[in-house]
């Protein structure tokens, strides 16, 4: 992991939407990186990264672990601000959020 600088170097990601909640999967390219990924990529780190987009008074970010797939699944309630149908955002689905998460410095 030491030769890598960003999350994008060791993991890939996909974003889905339901109502005004987004979910972002983070999947290790190499399953050998998963234990460190799971230890390092905490709910606190993800929450801090998206602080400007999340409602601080809203429900907390949740994390699910799928060790056999080398994958984490983050659920971010409220980040779509009204959801696809009412949002004023250019990307109302939040499809681009996962790519923004991959910029995290390891």
């Amino acid at each position: 992991m030491s030769t890598h600088t960003k999350l994008r170097d060791i993991a890939h990601s996909r974003t889905g939407d339901k109502g005004d909640t987004s979910n972002i999967s983070v999947i290790a390219f190499d399953s050998a990186d998963y234990p460190r990924l799971a230890q390092w990529l905490t709910v606190e780190r993800v929450t801090a990264h998206f602080a400007e987009l999340l409602d601080p008074a809203g429900p907390p970010v949740r994390r699910y672990e799928l060790a056999q797939l080398g994958a984490l699944n983050f659920v971010l309630p409220g980040i779509l601000r009204g959801g696809v149908t009412r949002s004023l955002a250019l990307d109302a689905h939040g499809k681009t959020l996962g790519a923004a998460l991959l910029d995290l410095e390891l």
Partner: protein, 454 residues
Amino acid sequence: MKTIRIGAGAGYSGDRIEPAIELAQQGELDYLVFECLAERTIALAQQARLLDPHGGFDPLLGERMRRVLPYVGPGADGTRRRLRIITNMGAANPLGAASEIRRIAAELGLPGIKVAALTGDDVLATLQQWPEQTLDNGATLSELGDRLISANAYVGAEGIVQALQADADIVVTGRVADPSLFLAPQLFEFGWRVDDWTLLGRGTLVGHLLECAGQISGGYFADPGVKEVPELDRLGFPLAEIDAMGHAVISKVAGSGGRIDTATCTEQLLYEVHDPAAYLTPDVTADFSQVTFQALDQDEVQVRGASGRARPEALKVSVGFLDGWIGEGQMSYGGPGAVARGRLAEAIVRKRLQLTGVACDDIRSELIGVSALHGDDLAQRAQGEPWEVRLRVAARCATKNDAVRIGNEVETLYTNGPYGGGGASKSVRQVVAVASLLLPRDAVALQVHLEEVA
């Protein structure tokens, strides 16, 4: 051991058509499923039906059917598998859609095709008897009043199974939970018990993996330099070969573009999933938390490990309603100082909207841009800050009049705003929002209407 082959012909209403035809031609399919209903598609279709009582189904239904109907059935020589079609393209008018399909089949000279429409998901009339029901957004139905457009229950696989038992070649529905469109042929072909939660969980996983079509075969995946996908311009749509134990192999037609491997499958497994151990559908509470993928060959992945628990007691109902208007305006600034001029323009518009008393429930503004104004060469002169920016102001307003003024205010920047604003654009659209509530299962009565093409 008997297997069935199910292909995904569409991942959303406007999806590409040739990959579906490629599957019908070369996929050796038993079923081709077109999933075409997003959250608020039915509400929009209901509005279309108010204008035209014969409309209200998917706008691409006719074109898709014209192309795929010649492959329905066992084929002229009877050697290939019998192809059947399942689709939710009926949207707000499954009966109208079925009639349109029969009309096209007759026109193509394809008599004998049996077309079934499934109705009963539309519960608007039922809900109007219960005005005090509360939606998940906190409002009651009576508060929505005449802004209420549509109410459709997410129904499960059961109605489609009945249509297949009646020997339908084509089943066209309104709102059915997406994975249930794929679970239904598995239930029908393998005779699974409707309370065998493990098998239903497995069949639901197959549906979940296929329902977005190209998203498991290399779409929504490519990231140059990190994740390469060949020939995205002719992306192949996926198919699953499934056995009676619900074990499945995901693949695509040989020679089509895209890629299917454990990475694309894992991304799609978690797409739009919250708790992987509790994926709720009308048929089952599916558990994807122990799923594994194994690559068998190039573009061929074996899926294992889904299970399930008892289905939810109630059905989820999606309610569509009118929710004001969104007005938007954009204007570009380029060259040195573009960001500062864009920010100045933004501040002017926001202040003008206040000064002129435009009532907005919510407003946002931002700067967009890379290489739209002066080509790539000049754009590369930018040092430290963008060469160009495009101001975008969007607001949600209760009235159309106020929403129109958002774009108008941005446009006035031409002659009243900062130096060098160009390329103004503006738009206004009515907001059709959705919210949900839960309904007891016995409040929904499904009905299959089967008719043969004369």
